[in-house]
Symmetry: C3
Subunit: 353 residues, 3 copies
């Protein structure tokens, strides 16, 4: 694709030779001739001088850029988003061919929309629905009465269990399990655990992305819901009856216990854990490995276990490793106070008594 | 189903009109006409006044209940268990049809019991056994010489590896891997790792439930065992040679390192980690994210990393965030003690010396 | 196999009757007649006296061993490695039969080497390559243009996504996902997240082992690389653009965030988490559950969250549970200093003023 066309498609202002051919998108350090790259963070501006890329996407407002001779600039008000769009121009699809592979097992009464791609060894259960333009990679199983919206991408080895509902443009990565049983048992007098059947609803709204080998559980009653635009990374656990708001980001290996509500725009870094029956307020941010043990007000930034405000945590955790020294100082103080007390006992009280 | 019949099946005492039709089981807040719900926790008794359910399961002993007119009560000595049984009355099965799907690959010498349901793209290896009434969902693989007991439910994309033994009524959720290689290597003089082959036994006893994408490893020698009635949640790791006792509950994302023994009735909340070659005593409880680094006596309740008694942990962790203030107080004490020391030096010793 | 032959194959010096038949390899406590076992750790030397094994592999240098009458000894300079080799002599394979199962879906233009074993319901995409002697278990999916080297073992339900490259002798356990999308989004002005397409390279070098349900992500640009000889346990997350060095050991449930570099010979115990864009130096060791929040110099041994040198962490964490007592001691000191101050005020200043 000519650089001129790339610039137009990305709504960038071109500063350089639009006739050159762009073949690939690369990182600024690996880029070579024919490559387009980007510079979204001023911190890395120094890398521009030595890049061998044919063109670089930069901020509209960037000044004093020291690009090599012959390296074109594409100026954008939002270079990181322009980079995302640029990547989209060069995607080679790996999707199964249009149509339904003959080695699949599609229930005769399933409703399959137009323009779908369904790979080999895919199962679609009785009365399930697959929306127009949806792509299902090989060896995935869509359960009975499940509903998949339009233009979804379901990768391989995914289990979309019975009656689960996915909205439009949902992406589900390999091995994710949506609608498995919640972990619910009633303890019996003899110490055994009676299973509480888990057969209620799981709803995943539009534009949600679900990572590889992530598990989203089904509750006994009510619903588990992932609201529109939320993105979930790999190996995340969403307990039964959990409600995740809109535009939430959950990084890898996060675990949310049953019946908890995570409000809109929350961000959790990797390996965060959240207890059950809690409410995590709108826009809360939790640093990696935070353990959230009680409900959190909107807008808080938590860290640690139990999760406390990041500011407090940082100050306290710096001191943690000095605990042996603090203990020693306390012991010395005790020693000195004992000595002072003894000495003072020897002192003459003032004579005005 | 008529409410009268529901009451009889659940062994509840009916207080209301037994002729009404029950269509669904719901949560007390979502329930509407035709719904049966439950009230197991006195804390939520206030919700009873406004429920629109047709009937509510309540404790035999509950007094002063303020149910709306026309809302029947089902009285049970154990309302939570009665609720579990009620859910069981209304389950719609999603299991594959009885018989063996023609798109499966069943070894001719596998022993398949009567009344099984085996879905499409299931593989059952040579000399494997599948017990009577067991259900295997699509795309699951049962390895050679594996033994599956009676009335088990194995969901999709499960790997039951060669020679693994499952008891009766075992439930394995989607994507679980039972019998993969333990993580064992012998470090060589050149720094490389020689694989220790892992080919010994994995035994899962009766009535065990294994969550989605959970992994249970096979040891080099000896066995990995999950004893009867234990329930394991999603994304849990059970290392090679681990022995888990009876009626243990392991919540999501727990990890148990190799050769550790977890005794009966232990409960671990989410993201707990346990080191290798340890013994976790009968009835131990570990709060979420606890790191167990040494063996634990029966009955302890641990929290934190390293795990310490919950009582101690709670008191200590409350103080953690005040460390900066404590440090300041120590500094002030040091300052004041220095001043006192100086002042005391100016003091007259008592004259009786 | 005769013990004499076992001794020769393991390059051990035989001390006992080489004519006896060895049937199995077992742990020293479980071993019975016909079993070979091992004693690699002097700590367990006491178990030798009561073993019922027919033969025991022991250290060349071990002295004063108290083996039962008739129990042969195999002396080796490295008994643990000899044990690993011994296990290899008795492996019963569970691999699919040689050749390509007729229930598989192999693209006509895929390049399949000689002597492969490909099980039922396996998919190999267009222009993919599978090297000589490689074994692919049932229901695994190899994406278009992926390259699998020679003598690899790919277990069931694995996703090797499009264009991923695996070297020779790579082992991938059930359910692992190699080449799923990295978790990368550009936040838009309206709060939504624009997906950054993730289509760059994933390279897994020779002799790497990847655990069950582990996920290794693909970056937008550049590559994710696992260097030769590295061993990764189950349920591990490797973020996009991560570079893992040679001979690294990552235990179960470890998570490495995007763009981080883990140098050669690093060892991370279970549930360790590493932040993004960091460098973990050669030979670093991290104890279980450590949270690595900044780059680490080679050779460090870290523990805790944030990860600090193990020595410091151990000293500090011992004191953690005594925080309530330390706080009390500070309060008492404050009280006593106040009393001293008061008393001192009553004191006669020395008369030389």
């Amino acid at each position: 694709m000519k650089l001129q066309e790339v610039a137009e498609r990305l709504h960038c202002r071109l500063d350089g030779d639009g006739a050159r051919e762009i073949l690939r998108i690369s990182g600024i350090e690996q880029a070579g001739p024919g490559d387009l790259t980007f510079l979204a963070n001023a911190k890395y501006a120094g890398l521009l001088a030595t890049t061998r890329a044919s063109a670089v996407i930069v901020a509209e407002s960037a000044r004093d850029l020291d690009a090599p001779d012959g390296c074109a600039l594409l100026r954008s008000p939002d270079p990181y988003s322009a980079f995302a769009h640029a990547l989209g121009l060069f995607i080679q699809t790996s999707a199964p061919a249009k149509g339904i592979d003959r080695f699949s097992a599609i229930a005769p009464d399933a409703a399959i929309g137009p323009d779908v791609s369904i790979g080999p060894f895919v199962v679609v259960g009785t009365k399930a629905t697959v929306g127009a333009g949806t792509v299902i990679y090989p060896n995935t199983v869509i359960g009975p009465h499940a509903t998949i919206g339009e233009r979804c991408t379901i990768y391989s080895h995914v289990s979309v269990r019975e009656r689960v509902v996915l909205g439009h443009r949902v992406i589900v990565h390999d091995g994710a399990v949506i609608g498995g049983d919640g972990f619910g048992f009633a303890k019996q007098a003899d110490g055994t655990h009676l299973k509480i059947p888990q057969h209620a609803d799981v709803i995943v709204e539009d534009d949600v992305e679900i990572g590889a080998n992530t598990t989203i559980d089904r509750p006994a009653v009510g619903e588990t819901r992932i609201a529109a635009g939320t993105k979930i990374d790999n190996l995340v656990q969403i307990g039964h009856g959990v409600s995740i708001g809109r535009r939430v980001l959950l990084a890898s290996q996060v675990g949310i216990s049953g019946s908890t509500v995570v409000e809109d725009d929350v961000v959790m870094a990797g390996q965060v854990g959240v207890g059950g029956h809690l409410r995590v307020g709108k826009g809360v941010v939790a640093a990696g490995k935070t353990g959230i043990t009680k409900s959190v007000e909107p807008g808080e930034f938590l860290t640690g276990y139990p999760g406390i405000p990041n500011r407090e945590w940082r100050k306290a955790s710096v001191i943690f490793k000095h605990l042996p020294e603090l203990k020693k100082r306390i012991e010395e103080l005790e020693q000195r106070v004992a000595e002072l007390t003894e000495k003072l006992a020897e002192c003459q009280p003032s004579t005005d008594r």
